[in-house]
Structure formats: C-alpha cells, structure tokens
C-alpha cells in the first residue's frame, strides 16, 4: 500500500495541504484557509446509517405508492401520486420535464438509498470489492440530484393554490414524504465516506512509494 498517510489531505475547495487531527467523537475539522469542512468523526456510523437507510427505503416505498393528495370539486374526486403527476406531464407533451421530475423525485432518491445499502452491506467485511468504490461515487451523484424536500415544498404550494378553488385533502403519501425527507437527511449526515473509502480495496495493489508531504498545517477542529 502507498505510504501516504490517510491523515494528510488537500482541501477539495482550495487545495491547501493539511493534516486532519484526531477528532473527538462527533467533532469536525475545517480547512484553516477557506473554512470548508474536511472531516467529521462519526462513531458507530456503519450501524446507524444502515438502520436509517432501511427506514428510508420503507418511507420511500410508501411515498411512491400512496396518493400525495386528493381533490374534490362539485361531487367529483381525484387524487394523484408522484407517478401520476409524471405521467400526466408526459401525456400532455412536456416529456423532458416529466423525465426530470421522475429523476429528481423517484430515481435519484431510489438510487441514493439502494446504492448506500449495497455499500454498507459490503463494508462489513473489509476490504470491500472495487465496485464499492464506483458505488461510492454514484451515491454522491444520486444524492446531489435527489430533491424530495424541494418536491415537498412544491406539493404544499400546489395544495395552497388549489385550496382556493376546490377542497383538497393531503394523502398518506405526503406524510411519508415528510418522514422520508428527515430520514434521507439523517442518513446522509450519519454516513462517513472517508471511513468507507478506507475500507475499499485499492485498484493498484502495490502502489509506488509515495513520499508524504512534509509539514503542512493542521486542519482546525470544530468551533474555530
């Protein structure tokens, strides 16, 4: 294995070399130059994140199966799910928007939860196979396109708008979506990608000897 210590990193936002100090449980290290968080200590991350991801998977299923809201006007009723909204967008000609909504509200969160569960399970027996590295990259991308919280605000906006003309009823799905937002946030913040990467098998088994950059400043610990 390469001899470069895992404790020395270059800040992703400003490239400053720094040593990550031993952190107290729950403590974070910040880049002294630009203020970006470079590391957080997350004891028990693996177990907690697994539990949260399983709960998020359940909330995700309910959110997508149950109606988000219902409407009644002059004795007629209608209700919609996420898929229903996407389908109507598609049917009425806004195909690209339909695909984007499906991506942000369904596909990205599903991949985010699914990939993370696969990663967590395979990290239990380190070193994890190399495809876990690819999933670690993908889970980050999926997370950045997953917009359940924005969708929730969009639902509230349309509920208020429609309440002016018809009777609207929030459905079970909307409460599940609320739970899903909290679980996704807790899941992402309890996951420790640095720890995960340290358990993945390297592409190059016998890396060249790499000299450690001498010196370098220490990252500042929490509460600078």
């Amino acid at each position: 294995m390469a001899s470069l210590s895992a404790d020395v990193v270059a800040c992703p936002d400003c490239d400053l070399l720094q040593r990550i100090p031993a952190l107290s449980p729950g403590g974070s290290a910040y880049c002294p130059r630009c203020g970006r968080k470079v590391a957080t200590s997350k004891p028990g991350s693996l177990e907690r994140t697994t539990a949260l991801a399983v709960a998020a998977a359940i909330a995700f299923l309910i959110t997508n199966v149950e109606p988000l809201m219902g409407l009644s006007l002059a004795g007629r009723e209608a209700s919609t799910t996420i898929a229903g909204g996407v389908w109507q967008m598609w049917e009425q000609g806004e195909k690209i928007t339909a695909l984007l909504i499906a991506l942000f509200a369904v596909i990205a969160p599903a991949l985010q939860i699914g990939f993370l569960l696969a990663i967590l399970l395979s990290l239990r027996r380190p070193p994890a196979p190399r495809w876990v590295g690819a999933l670690l990259r993908w889970v980050e991308i999926a997370g950045s396109w997953s917009m359940v919280e924005v969708m929730m605000l969009g639902i509230l906006v349309s509920l208020v708008k429609l309440a002016a003309i018809a009777r609207v009823v929030p459905g079970v799905g909307i409460f599940a979506a609320g739970g899903l937002i909290l679980l996704l946030a807790a899941m992402s913040s309890s996951f420790d990608p640095r720890e995960a990467w340290s358990r993945v098998r390297w592409v190059k088994d016998e890396g060249p000897q790499r000299a450690l950059p001498s010196g370098g400043v220490d990252a500042a610990e929490a509460g600078r």
Binding site: C14, L73, Q92, R130, L153, V157
Partner: protein
C-alpha cells in the same frame, strides 16, 4: 494567516476528485489514475472556466422565456387562463398566502438570477486574477451549491397540479412550454456550479503572502 500556503499542486501532489486520496501524480501533464479508486486524476477540473461560462450563458438565455412564457393553463367550464411564474406569485399574494408568494418569488425568480450573477462574478474575478475576498468568494460558491435546487419548486408544483386536476370538463390544468425552459435554467445552473473549480479562486494568490482573514 501570513504564511505562504502549501497546496497539493505547489508540492506536486494531486487530490482525487472521487475519493479524496492525495497521491503523487504519474507526470505533470498527465497525472494518471488514482491508485485507490482508478479515477482519472486532474490538478484542476478540465476547462472549468470555458465550460462554466458556456453553461451560465445558456442558462441566462433560458431565464427570459422561463419567466415570460406561461407554465400552466387552467381550464374551467367558464374560463381559461394561463399563468407565468410571476402571475402565479401575484395570484398567491392576492389570495392571502403572502408567505408562499414570497417563497416562490425567492426560489423561482431571485435564486436563479443570484446564482447566475454569482457564477459570473466568480468567473470574472478568477479570470482577472483577483487575490482579494478569497474566503468570501469561497463561501459564496458553497452557498450557491446549496440553494440552487430550490428553484425547482415551481416545476414540482405545476406537476402535481397537472396530475391532480383532471376533472374535465369541470376543471383541468395543463403544462405549458415555460416549465421546460424553467427546468432548463435549474439544471444548467446546477451543472455550471459543478463544472466550476473553487480552487481557482485561490490559485491567483498562490506564492504570495496571504493577508486574508
């Protein structure tokens, strides 16, 4: 801080964009691949400035139709009306939900504009080799990454209105071309922020004494 900053690049190290591992590159021109995850290494994101400019300009062009064209058309037995983002905000304000009107105004109108101006500002200062306000500019970049997604709220609202209100001929809601341009603006600004490299903010002051605190 008054010392000369030691960066990965100045010390001949490259940080992996995927896994964060710091390693000695294979060569200065072609840094090679990350020994841990196999990702192609780059000292700085490739063509960051040109790509970001291209995306910012395209998003800026989409911003006008996104705000001028209607996003939904509501048809009832007696009337048919189309709403743009702005007229939607005005309606909400008039029906008493001024707080939601304000949220929509900020999310749909102001955030995309703020994001485009902030990116243009970062690009121009980097191109001019500005060395001041580095920390503030870094903070601006991070803030932009977080708030951009909220602009999507009106497209979600339109989608659920379209999905829900299908009581023909009593009342129905149909999407209009504005939603396409609007989602375009959101996506393009998100990708633009991704393709910019915040390390460029600091590169101009590399080797100089930092007087930034």
């Amino acid at each position: 801080m008054t010392s000369v900053a030691r960066t990965g690049m100045s010390e001949g190290f490259v940080s992996c964009g995927a896994c964060g591992l710091l390693s000695r590159p294979a060569g200065a021109e072609e840094p090679g691949e990350c020994p841990r995850c196999g990702e192609t290494l780059e000292f700085r994101r490739r063509d960051a400035i040109q790509r970001t400019w291209a995306l910012v300009i395209t998003a800026g062009i989409c911003y006008l139709p996104a705000n001028i064209l209607p996003v939904v058309r509501t048809t009832t037995l007696t009337s048919e009306e189309t709403d743009t983002i702005i007229s939607g905000v005005v309606h909400l304000y008039a029906t008493g939900s001024w707080y939601l009107a304000l949220i929509l105004l900020i999310a749909s109108v102001m955030i995309p504009l703020a994001k485009l101006s902030a990116l243009a500002y970062l690009l121009i200062t980097v191109q001019r080799g500005a060395v001041r306000n580095n920390r503030e500019r870094a903070r601006l970049y991070r803030l932009m990454e977080i708030i951009g997604r909220w602009s999507m709220v009106d497209v979600f609202a339109a989608t659920f209105a379209v999905g829900l209100v299908r009581l023909q001929p009593l009342m129905s809601v149909a999407p209009q071309p504005g939603v396409l341009f609007f989602s375009g603006v959101v996506i393009l600004t998100i990708i633009a922020a991704e393709s910019f490299d915040p390390r460029l903010i600091w590169d101009s002051s590399q080797g100089k004494q930092e007087t930034n605190d």
